[in-house]
Subunit: 334 residues, 5 copies
Amino acid sequence: MVQILHFLNNELRRLTIKELAHELQQPTGILWIDLEDPQEAEEETILVSLLDLHPLAIEDCQRGREEEGHLPKVEDFADYLFVIFNPIERVAFNGGDPGERTAAIRTSQLSGFLSRTLLVTHHYKPLAAVASALQLCGKNPKTLGRGPDFLFHLIIDQIVDGYTPILDGLDADIDRMEDQVFEQPSQHTMFGILQLKKDIMTVRRIASYQREMLNRLARGEFAPLITKDETLYYRNVYDHLVRMTDLADSYRDVVTGLLDAYLSVTSNNLNKVMKVLTIISTIFLPLSVITGFFGMNFRYLPLAEWEEGVLITSLLMLCVAVGMLWFFRQKKWM
Amino acid sequence: MVQILHFLNNELRRLTIKELAHELQQPTGILWIDLEDPQEAEEETILVSLLDLHPLAIEDCQRGREEEGHLPKVEDFADYLFVIFNPIERVAFNGGDPGERTAAIRTSQLSGFLSRTLLVTHHYKPLAAVASALQLCGKNPKTLGRGPDFLFHLIIDQIVDGYTPILDGLDADIDRMEDQVFEQPSQHTMFGILQLKKDIMTVRRIASYQREMLNRLARGEFAPLITKDETLYYRNVYDHLVRMTDLADSYRDVVTGLLDAYLSVTSNNLNKVMKVLTIISTIFLPLSVITGFFGMNFRYLPLAEWEEGVLITSLLMLCVAVGMLWFFRQKKWM
Amino acid sequence: MVQILHFLNNELRRLTIKELAHELQQPTGILWIDLEDPQEAEEETILVSLLDLHPLAIEDCQRGREEEGHLPKVEDFADYLFVIFNPIERVAFNGGDPGERTAAIRTSQLSGFLSRTLLVTHHYKPLAAVASALQLCGKNPKTLGRGPDFLFHLIIDQIVDGYTPILDGLDADIDRMEDQVFEQPSQHTMFGILQLKKDIMTVRRIASYQREMLNRLARGEFAPLITKDETLYYRNVYDHLVRMTDLADSYRDVVTGLLDAYLSVTSNNLNKVMKVLTIISTIFLPLSVITGFFGMNFRYLPLAEWEEGVLITSLLMLCVAVGMLWFFRQKKWM
Amino acid sequence: MVQILHFLNNELRRLTIKELAHELQQPTGILWIDLEDPQEAEEETILVSLLDLHPLAIEDCQRGREEEGHLPKVEDFADYLFVIFNPIERVAFNGGDPGERTAAIRTSQLSGFLSRTLLVTHHYKPLAAVASALQLCGKNPKTLGRGPDFLFHLIIDQIVDGYTPILDGLDADIDRMEDQVFEQPSQHTMFGILQLKKDIMTVRRIASYQREMLNRLARGEFAPLITKDETLYYRNVYDHLVRMTDLADSYRDVVTGLLDAYLSVTSNNLNKVMKVLTIISTIFLPLSVITGFFGMNFRYLPLAEWEEGVLITSLLMLCVAVGMLWFFRQKKWM
Amino acid sequence: MVQILHFLNNELRRLTIKELAHELQQPTGILWIDLEDPQEAEEETILVSLLDLHPLAIEDCQRGREEEGHLPKVEDFADYLFVIFNPIERVAFNGGDPGERTAAIRTSQLSGFLSRTLLVTHHYKPLAAVASALQLCGKNPKTLGRGPDFLFHLIIDQIVDGYTPILDGLDADIDRMEDQVFEQPSQHTMFGILQLKKDIMTVRRIASYQREMLNRLARGEFAPLITKDETLYYRNVYDHLVRMTDLADSYRDVVTGLLDAYLSVTSNNLNKVMKVLTIISTIFLPLSVITGFFGMNFRYLPLAEWEEGVLITSLLMLCVAVGMLWFFRQKKWM
């Protein structure tokens, strides 16, 4: 779906592709072209024929069809900037094991072309950030009037704001895993922790690539296309991303600690089992020898003819058992 | 609560917001405005209407309401500097397990605006450092006369001094954990160590972010707002923070070693239990076979008819047991 | 095998070495000389006698005979650039253990000399990327007309594209290993994971060396030899390599996690075995003592003369066994 | 104790504080003031009143009273350099466990002020390096004549030379720990290794901070105060420190390896114990069943009435035992 | 032993120390002075009296007597360069344990002074690289004529070439250790792997220090002493060292993996032993209870009077044993 917004003299119009072609012959005002899951013909017409963008940049846009999309980058083509940004989503699974996580991180791709009077946004998946910016422009046309750089900042700011619930979700997952580790650790817990670490590393990587990119956008490196006044807003997005990577870093540390804790809990459980085994063996093996002793077929067996023989033997066995238990309690094994 | 201090001709006056509005029309002397847990209306009046500070900076200030606050940063808005600093507190818990730690690290946020004649400090939690600076100005008005940069240095210097008891507390916790590991390690010990590591990493992160920031403040990057003479004082705070991160680094190493020690102690305990089990089994299983041997229902069983049969068998069993014990002592298993 | 392509006035001719010698006396148009597994005499004639290339560069070319070849590098000899690139292949093994991997990573070497009108490519193994570029030049001579820098970009772009199936193969291997770890981990699994990690590290190293090299080629450092317009294409290859190293990084993290998982699964299995042992011992040792008790040869043994003695004893043994099982189920050991 | 040396016209005089005050009114020649564990009044008089040094620097000096002192640093106060250096000592313990280490690393602080004609050294603990430099000046007054920068180099060179025996001591400790790990590892070994690692990290940290500082002193950054000719000597000290950190790095690697070795030796011992347990159980449990079999109270028990019954059964038991032993030897478990 | 080569007018002469003294009064041509294990008097005469080299550099030369020598470095003394290089040797041991490694890495020191017309090489151990360069000069005097920088490059190039067999040796050791780990791991294997890792780290460290040094030599930083044309040759040596460090890096990764593998193999072996123990216990403990049951001295014991009693009981025992084995095979424990 292609939406074309044109802002001129405080008025906002929606153009068709034909009107766009006409408008581009003598460009006036500010244009925003949003391509959401465009057909190849639409890409061909708008990006190649009408706007004459660089084939390498268009090729990079189309990498967005692939599962993970292109990594974040910014490229300066003199007349326009080409920027790739990666929104992150949390996709829920259906019907997994109860112990496993039920959501995973998926990245997609938003490509943007920024000239001084034109913004092109290109993405295959619908993005809430773009939808809300479109809505804002509808309500207040002057938003578009502040230029493509401000508009683009609005979109990526919302994308980055969208990372917060995802990080909160990861935090909640960590808490859940922590409980599992200390309450009923199983093989699934281990698997879940590794999965969680993978997701955290994905978020960390995406956020740190984008942080580096935003750093370049914010320090005025692309001065004529991103005006000095707007760099402050980009710096603001940069700050958010610094916070994100910092959080992801600390999450990673916690998850690494969780793995250690899991292994420790497991080996602790082994220890407990071994102690029980040792106690049982240590109590019943001597008793077994005692009963065996009096089960020997000797003609002259001590106590055998006495009436109190069984009683004495039973008391002996009781003493041994109680002595052993006392010994283990001394050693703090029980 | 809003406090406004005005210094002119060696005299210190406390202004109301109305007087501040009047004063700002023709600014003279030096102003310090402290907003402690301000209401939104006060923020609106002072920061927006009267001082006309940048909306992004004000938004960052208000991030201080969130649990952990904004990360430390410094931003140059030409007329003024915007600085965020993170005081750290040690918050005590009530009624935890005896083996667990009873305190945790919490960060808050102090935002500051520094122009040549004006200092605005903004924080939601009461801060000892700010209170003591206010007191100092009351006693000696000339403190304020040395300018906002000196005053702000006073505040952050006290905040950083406040890190020392926290680091000492962490050090004491490490010692306590060390004792636990080598005396009576339990699952709680492991949990406590991981918790401690998390706290150390938090302090380390906060201190190193602020170290980088102080480095920028100290090397004269913001020359007109922080005068050359004052940079020495900022360098002094920087040195403190270098020491803090260095300490936190070495604490982290120690705690990592503690985790290794915990695992080693645990596996050592397993080893001891296994040795006892082995010794018990190894002594009583052969004895059991001996008693079983003489318990067989053969008509012609050796020793069975002898009067000394039991004695000989008992001696044999004793020999086997003693021999085994001697063997284990040889092997240093006992 | 030596192939010499000469492009002049939109026409492509294949030259013999003799014709090349003639052509080089008064160079016109653009030349591409490809040496595939050349004999030493051919190397001598073309690289030394005719083109007079630097002996150190030629020596580096000939390092390609060695198993792993020279590491990627670019060297500026004023008149020409000397570039080494490392194609990667996945070589299949025959008849390994079923649990082991059946393919390994092998690197080879492509050396290139780029002047403004001449491209020399030199390699000992046949390369698909070179073959396809030769074919392209055959179909469309103007490809050669765009200059040696464009042509060389074509070749390395295809080499880098060739990394994708290799990384996909490694990804598939990781999935297979993951299944093995969680289903039937054996010593071979451990060996396979270590082997896989080695391969991932190899790809990562090669890709990151080449990334650094491409970065230098792309930022216009060798301006007259690689024209400004072409740097965009080199930047494109650079982006691919950034993606590769990033993928290899995340693969490495996953494989490291797999090693942890393997160790955890192994120790988990130990735990399960220990629990079974403990349960069996704990149930049958007491039963053994009970039977031993009534096997003692005392004249006055309780129950011994009763008709229901065996029944009562059997019920007692059943109670003990069931009680134990109930206890273990309580402890969640079963 | 305060010592003041004054060098003028090839003559060395020792001054009292009063004479110093007089001399400083019209400074001639070269002065070296050494404050060893000075009283606060002496610090006040000399550093503040007479020399008028910066209060922040004096405060840093006085941090030397604290246990670990200030971290190494160099600060340029235009007229003079302020340098902090950290001597390291090896302090012996009394009466520890035999397995534990009997020495630990302690750092102290040497502060120095260098102007073109004045050297002030300030330390709370007596330092061999300072004492020997004082002695050298006594013997050969011209040493002082070469200027404060040469003199200060002499002192820190000796301090750094003093690190060598400490590193040798750590090396010897490593060897001792290595022997313990492979001969009779105990809990104390683990504790000792962790302690050793801590000491190595301390030396490494101190050395690397000082290396960075020396690097700045050696590259002529403080040109008028440290003359070009003298930088060579500082570079020499820098080289020593590079060697120290390099050694400390390799020690750290070795100690990390020792920890792994300790854990491996421990788990190896567990393995050995388990094997003995398994062998004993595996031999005697079947024998126990055989004796039990012939202990059953059946009327018609095979062999029971035969005279050779016991012999046959004994031979059977021997066969089982020997067969088991042979099986274990096959499996290389013995 | 001191050898002095003098090259003038395409002729090579060997000078005595006396002739050298004469020659140095009016230096003509090119001189190479090689000091192999010189006596102190020779060092004094040549380095101090005749050549007047800096005392700090001479001191660094003499550090070569120490076990490991000085770390690589290059220092610019305006008139000459002072360079330290570290040849590596593989020293074989006699009569170690069969499982242990029989060789270790030893570093020595080559010091060189390069002026425009003079090369001094100084080393305490005989070096193949120096010997071969001396031989080459003997055969072809013009080698010396290309200047001290070319000559010195020849020597260090050969030293670096000498690293290759050492790295190959380490590679072979790794393979041998790998076999040991997977075939018959013992305590010696662990020790051998740690030893191997230490050697790899030594080579890595030496190579990377020298790589940094060569990088400085190669990028024309010492332009008048190392001519532009020769830097290419130094870059060539640099490339070799990059390859070395890269190899050492990957060796280190492999050895780290080997340690993991060793631990995994050890714990795997423990698992196997535990399974055997569990199987044996689980089969024979129930059998023991069965025999005990029929060994009880009750008057009315079921089956006891039957003729087929033993047969039925034996069949029952067989069923239990076979059932257990079938159960374990189901569980894949056998």
